[in-house]
């Protein structure tokens, strides 16, 4: 049965039972509604800014001047990293027709795996590639020493490990959804639950406690000269490498989705898989790739959360990921599946958090914590189903009519 049909029917039936104002809202096209939502947001932000500029002493003024402070912007960017990267990955999967609600699980598993890999390889050290190999043959030892070795810091190998773990779990998810035609939502929840159990379990086995000790963390990258530019310099060129990666990933992801063949295939696979199939592109292969991409980006996001920030994995309670995977879903929905939009939404959410840390007197913490979720609900109401790809959530089998 077709969920979309229900929605279509509801949309048609709605005016009859709704008060006029809502009926008018409903009669707007989706694009109009989205525009309205965007402008509302921008408008509110602009109003606060304007008021803040005019009355610097007011609460709005305090909020505004804090929000554009260098420290707040740096902070917001750092906090946005896991959300924005995961959102970018998630939107690829969903665009291809696979709703990946297990992003939270991918974040957890990668955050943990990154720390473990870095720890096993030895914290702050480096590993050389190619490695020196020794053989014991009949009492004598032969050693193959490549001579020249590329030294890779273990922290980066840890991040690679985190990405790999996330992609493996994403692959499992893809197999269930695509190969075994499992329900995407249920499988996604399962991925989350498994990761939520597995990471603290493994941590307790390995370290005797749900959280790992601090292993090693990424230092900041400073680009000479550029970092001396006032204001922008320190924000962009004297920052955590993960911030660079995020800032590079956003345009790259956009380009990939909107300017490459693969991006077109991803979109077609989510909107009308049959159209793709009939021109000879393997829909399921595209979907596997898209889900793996979501695993890849969530993997970087998760590693950034652990190794990129505290240098450890915290597995207590909801783990250190603590809902960021779900905020990421909110971010790409709010950002209308556009990597730039998803980044902007992530920045909005993380900016709220950064502000909250700085301006706790203005409103209780929970108000700030709630805001992203409330915003998403409002956006969903305004924009209806935010133009979910037509075929999202459905598995596709070639040749069925």
């Amino acid at each position: 049965m077709d969920r979309d049909d229900l929605e279509r029917r509801l949309r048609n039936a709605a005016p009859e039972v709704l008060p006029l104002s809502v009926a008018e809202l409903r009669s707007m096209s989706r694009a109009d509604a989205r525009r309205l939502a965007t402008w509302l947001t921008v408008g509110v932000l602009a109003l606060v800014a304007l008021y803040g500029i005019v009355f610097p002493g007011s609460t709005a003024g305090e909020v505004f001047w804090t929000a554009i402070g260098q420290s707040t912007i740096e902070s917001s960017l750092r906090l946005a990293v896991p959300i924005a990267l995961t959102a970018i990955g998630g939107l690829y999967a969903e665009k291809s027709g696979v709703i990946n609600i297990g992003l939270e699980g991918l974040l957890i598993i990668s955050a943990f795996a990154a720390v473990v890999v870095a720890d096993v390889l030895g914290g702050a050290g480096s590993t050389g590639f190619p490695p020196v190999v020794s053989f014991d043959v009949g009492g004598s030892t032969y050693t193959i020493d490549p001579g020249v070795q590329l030294l890779v810091p273990n922290v980066w190998l840890g991040i690679a490990g985190g990405v790999l773990a996330s992609m493996l779990l994403a692959f499992l998810f893809a197999v269930i959804c695509i190969r075994y035609e499992g329900d995407q939502i249920i499988a996604g929840l399962a991925v989350w639950l498994v990761a939520l159990g597995l990471a603290p379990f493994a941590s307790k086995v390995m370290y005797g406690q749900p959280s790992t000790p601090q292993v090693v963390r990424l230092g900041e990258w400073t680009v000479p000269v550029l970092s001396d530019i006032p204001f922008v310099g320190p924000i962009l060129f004297d920052a955590n490498p993960m911030v660079f990666i995020m800032l590079v990933s956003v345009p790259v992801a956009w380009y990939g989705l909107n300017r490459t063949s693969f991006g077109y295939w991803v979109q077609a696979s989510g909107e009308n898989p049959k159209a793709l199939d009939t021109v000879g592109v393997n829909v399921n292969r595209v979907r596997y790739a898209a889900v793996l991409i979501s695993g890849f980006f969530a993997g970087i996001g998760g590693s950034a959360l652990s190794l990129g920030s505290g240098g450890l994995f915290n597995g207590a309670g909801q783990t250190m990921v603590d809902g960021r995977g779900f905020i990421a879903i909110a971010a790409y929905l709010f950002g209308n599946y556009n990597p730039f939009g998803a980044f902007a939404a992530s920045y909005l959410f993380s900016g709220l958090q950064a502000l909250q840390i700085r301006l706790q007197g203005i409103a209780p913490t929970e108000v700030f914590l709630m805001l992203p979720y409330v915003v998403v609900v409002i956006v969903l109401v305004l924009v209806g189903r935010t133009r979910l790809p037509e075929a999202a959530g459905e598995h596709y089998e070639s040749g069925e009519d």
């Binding site: 809502v22 329900d183 709630m370």
Partner: protein, 430 residues
């Protein structure tokens, strides 16, 4: 008479059987995979000597049939954990030991934990199942439960001042608490329902978001308005009066943490939900909408109203779970984050049960066992109790892929009836 026949038919109907077989297979596979995880992680854990594998069938008395005794190793490593022992602890520990062991009492502590958890899960499982049957994926049972818990606690605290003492007070406070919890949960469930019906907002996303809003919103309300002035440390409401708690009748477990009364209420509700879904016109509307919304409209079902109503009922069931969590388990509301994730476990329970209210009974018993067994694991073995979370994740993972089991089944030459667990209606025997 006819209904009894109907029940029977449904439980043994072809696709119903397949549904049950898949659930059992998923459970078995999860246990196998979980055992592997235990074994492999035992290789990495440190211990003086590998675990002694002792596989035997225990019999009454101290007799047992010995199957295997010794150590296992893989690639030269010995595992510190013995999966068989782990499962033994998990499932037997869940009920506090073997019933024929001396000193075993049916009201022992493990039983209490197990039954309390099963009772609460029965409500959240039913909550998810009802929404599923209406074609709605209510991931928001957690949030509905949180609101139910807060509102019932606050209502009781407010009314307690005017209520009579003793059992007379219980007669007023307890129903009031349950009703206020149901109302609060129902309203919180109706919101995504209405958003779905009238504004097209995808309920999977809205319910997830509203869970967070509930978590932070209730915490905010407690710290701003209902904070216990006596609290030394945390954000929490005052303790509800003792006579508002679910009394231990007809016979007592040792404390207030479990009451047969609550379990009976839950079981009755399971049958009520079953009857409503399969025995009433409204239930027919709900199931038709869940399976084929087009056909439901054709049959004169008001789609919007059915969506909102189903979500309200679903939310109310979640709200009762929250109220009972306060009245049975906790005695007060702390913060949104401190409410255990029964709402999410409810999804697992319902999915495992094929969204059948009667199946939910079995599902909640299983997960009650896992919870209580997790405690036993924690205290009797070195294996971290998080194993239980992994197991429930695996169960839902495998249940999500019926096609996998069907392929296996087909390769073994048995049935190929269609049955899928899906977020768009939840089929099975309908």
């Amino acid at each position: 008479m006819s209904r009894a026949r109907d029940v029977l038919e449904r439980l043994v109907g072809a696709s119903g059987v397949e549904r049950a077989v898949i659930s059992m297979a998923a459970l078995a596979l999860s246990i196998v995979v979980g055992g592997l995880i235990v074994f492999v992680s035992g290789l990495g854990a440190a211990c003086e000597a590998g675990a002694n594998y002792h596989i035997a069938i225990p019999l009454p008395g101290s007799v047992e049939i010995l199957l295997f005794d010794g150590r296992l190793s893989m690639l030269g490593f010995q595992s510190c954990y013995d999966p068989i022992n782990v499962y033994e602890k998990l499932f037997i520990g869940a009920i506090g030991g073997l019933p024929w062991e001396s000193g075993w009492q049916p009201t022992n502590f493990a039983m209490e934990v197990f039954l309390q958890r099963a009772t609460l899960l029965l409500f959240t499982g039913l909550s998810v199942a009802v929404a599923f049957r209406a074609g709605l994926f209510n991931i928001g049972t957690q949030g509905q439960m949180i609101w139910g818990a807060l509102v019932s606690a606050v209502t009781v605290l407010f009314v307690a001042d005017f209520a009579p003492a003793g059992l007379a007070g219980t007669a007023i406070l307890l129903p009031l608490a349950l009703v206020s919890g149901a109302v609060a949960g129902g309203i919180w469930g109706a919101i995504p329902g209405a958003l779905k019906a009238y504004a097209d907002a995808n309920e999977v996303i809205t319910t997830i978001m509203l869970n967070f809003v509930a978590t932070f919103g209730t915490t905010l309300l407690v710290s701003e308005f209902f904070q216990d002035p006596q609290s030394a440390g945390g954000t929490q409401t005052r303790m509800v009066p003792g006579n508002s708690l679910v009394p231990s009748i007809p016979f007592g477990f040792q404390g207030t943490r479990f009451s047969i009364l609550a379990l009976v209420l839950a079981l009755v509700l399971a049958f009520v939900v079953y009857f409503v879904l399969w025995g009433t016109s409204f239930g027919f509307d709900v199931r038709t909408s869940g399976l084929q919304p087009e056909a439901a409209t054709y049959a004169g079902v008001n789609a919007e109203r059915t969506i909102v109503r189903s979500m309200t009922i679903s939310g109310a069931l979640g709200g009762i779970a929250g109220a009972l969590w306060v009245l049975l388990a906790n005695g007060r509301f702390l913060t949104g984050t401190e409410v255990p994730s029964l709402g999410f476990d409810g999804i697992t329970v319902s999915v495992l049960a094929g969204n059948n209210p009667l199946g939910v009974i079995f599902g909640s018993i299983l997960f009650g066992v896992l919870k209580s067994g997790g405690n036993a694991l924690n205290f009797q073995t070195d294996v971290p109790p998080e194993l239980v979370s992994i197991l429930s994740g695996l169960i839902i993972l495998f249940v999500a892929m019926p096609e996998f089991f069907r392929l296996i089944g087909r390769s073994m030459g048995i049935g190929d009836e269609q049955a899928t667990v899906a977020t768009d209606g939840g089929e099975d025997d309908g």
